[in-house]
Amino acid sequence: MALDKQQLVEMYRRMCRIRYFEEAVIEIHSSGELIGPAHPYIGEEAVAVGACAALRDTDRIAGNHRSHGHPIAKGGDVNRAMAEILGKSDGYCKGKGGSMHLADFSIGILGESGIVASSVPIATGAALAAKLSKQDFVSLVFFGDGASNQGACHESMNMASLWDLPVIFMCENNGYAITTSYKNSVSVDHVSDRASAYGMPGVLIDGQDAIAVWEATNEAVRRARAGEGPTLIEAMTYRFEDHSLGLDKIRKSEYRTQEEVDEAMTRDPLPIHRSAMINQGFATDDECDEIEATVHTEIEGAVEFARNSPYPKPEDLYEDMWATPV
């Protein structure tokens, strides 16, 4: 099975959507309009988009603090995402979650999480529900190399393998847990090496190549739906920005060399995917330019939408606490 033109183009559109969305967030942050923290996904777009391209709307995802790329890749609405980041009532969470907690349950986005690795058990439980209720959805969780050291990851992978759960563990290895490098925090060469300890396949892939991410995820999804259990995929990637917006003004020294960042940026996932589409005859330069222009307009619209959305009202404070009222 291979991706068709429509899928490849849609993947490019979503990668552009994430990139421009994040650029807009950076602009809004620098103007002082954004009050809370935000963690740009720029440079890692191919992972979320390649992974979600292998999923259905009914499949579930969960993510982490680097939280805008995953829901947009799954098909989330940029207007509601941007409004949430600005704390507005039309936001995905009515302004109660903010940047790190985007969620859209209607299309399987079970929510991003501010605590590193804490959504890994959640996604594992979603897969448990699929198994117990005999439904054919799968779940996929995005987490980083830093999260791979949390007990929650270990516990989840053990349970998932023990119970053959339809879950895909998608490790976005961007080389750093905030400022702590991979080599200073992980005891093995690759996070995917740990898969054998749980008795599941571990797959190491180029996370800058959306098609490669799709291929690996597609196979993991096939396994999961067939009842063959979980897969750990490690996508090697890089974040082009700092860990979070404004961190460069707080930390006292550099943790990455400029040469390393420059080198990583030569492997930008957007031009990689664009070239692949053009080289394989799936799209022309003009078509790609048009996608970019359309998405730029879309993101401008999202910023406009978010700015115009009203803030929640004081009386909304106690709303959404309970599903069964007290």
Binding site: R60, A62, G91, Y92, C93, K94, G95, K96, G97, H101, A103, D104, F105, L110, G111, S113, G114, I115, S118, S119, V120, P121, I122, A123, T124, G125, A126, A127, L128, A129, A130, K131, L132, S133, F137, S139, G151, A152, H154, E155, S156, N158, M159, L162, W163, E319, D320, M321, W322, A323, T324, V326
Partner: protein, 327 residues
Amino acid sequence: MATKTYIQAIAEATIEEMERDKSVFTMGEDLRHSVYGATAGLVERFGEDRVLDTPLSENGFFGAALGASLCGMRPIVETVTSFLWVGMDQLISQAAKMRYMFGGQAELPVTFRVRMFYARGASAHHSDRNYPVFMNTPGLKIICPSNAYDAKGLMKTAVRDNDVCLLFEDGIAISSRMEVPDNADLPNGELLVPFGVANIVQPGSDVTIVGIAGGVQHAIDAAKVLEAEGVSAEIIDPRTLVPLDKETILKSVAKTGRLVVVDPAHKMCSAGSEIASIVAQEGFWDLQAPIQVVASEQVNVPYSPALEPLIYPTPSKVVAAIREVLD
């Protein structure tokens, strides 16, 4: 009507709810062999898929229960107070917060059955009465049955509730026995006790005693002692701490003018101190004497049988507190 133990009541509630609703399943450690007494025969009755013996991974399986609940399942998780600490990230950062954080999108119908062992020589690591910690975190419903009847009725309500419920099973009360009606004898065919409705265990006019979990029995024992001296005590069991039926407590204090709260938890920031705070703020002009809170000493639970009994509320400490407020 048959008499049943608290633990039998919990087991009955589990079976009834699993039979009623296929999305209900149980998970936890050592369920098959019923180490904690309420899950015997469940595997044989419902099969391994609905009775999951988990690895020793509280953070992992607490989170998995939450994730499953987001996708239409209704897990009952069995655990022990002291193991809640191991799964705190999932309990606090996810269970309590997901619904609000996601603007009301999440429904989390998970019941955590939490055995609260104490006063049995298990020392500091296995004697936690930690419900007040969770009262301090918005988003969790806190259930503290003090007897078999409430254990069954509250448990069944918890399983049907669409929020995360922590049901603390008092380790002293679990072998206590009382009459629990058979379903056939109930007008609706089943026993459901609503949340947020306190039980007036006995009416009285001189002093209000609010008992929490195992503290209710101490209140009853103390009231009997003082009844002989002509003191009429009104005993209130809130049954659920979140939501808390403060109206019933305030109404009682308005009548008696005196309040003693009996809480097995450590005193600082306890359920008892919260109730005292509410009454001090909202019922001050009804009070004839300073409120007394009889709670556990602010020290870790010691092992020695010479020391451990000193720290918990006892009927005689409650009697002394009542004398204090009547003085």
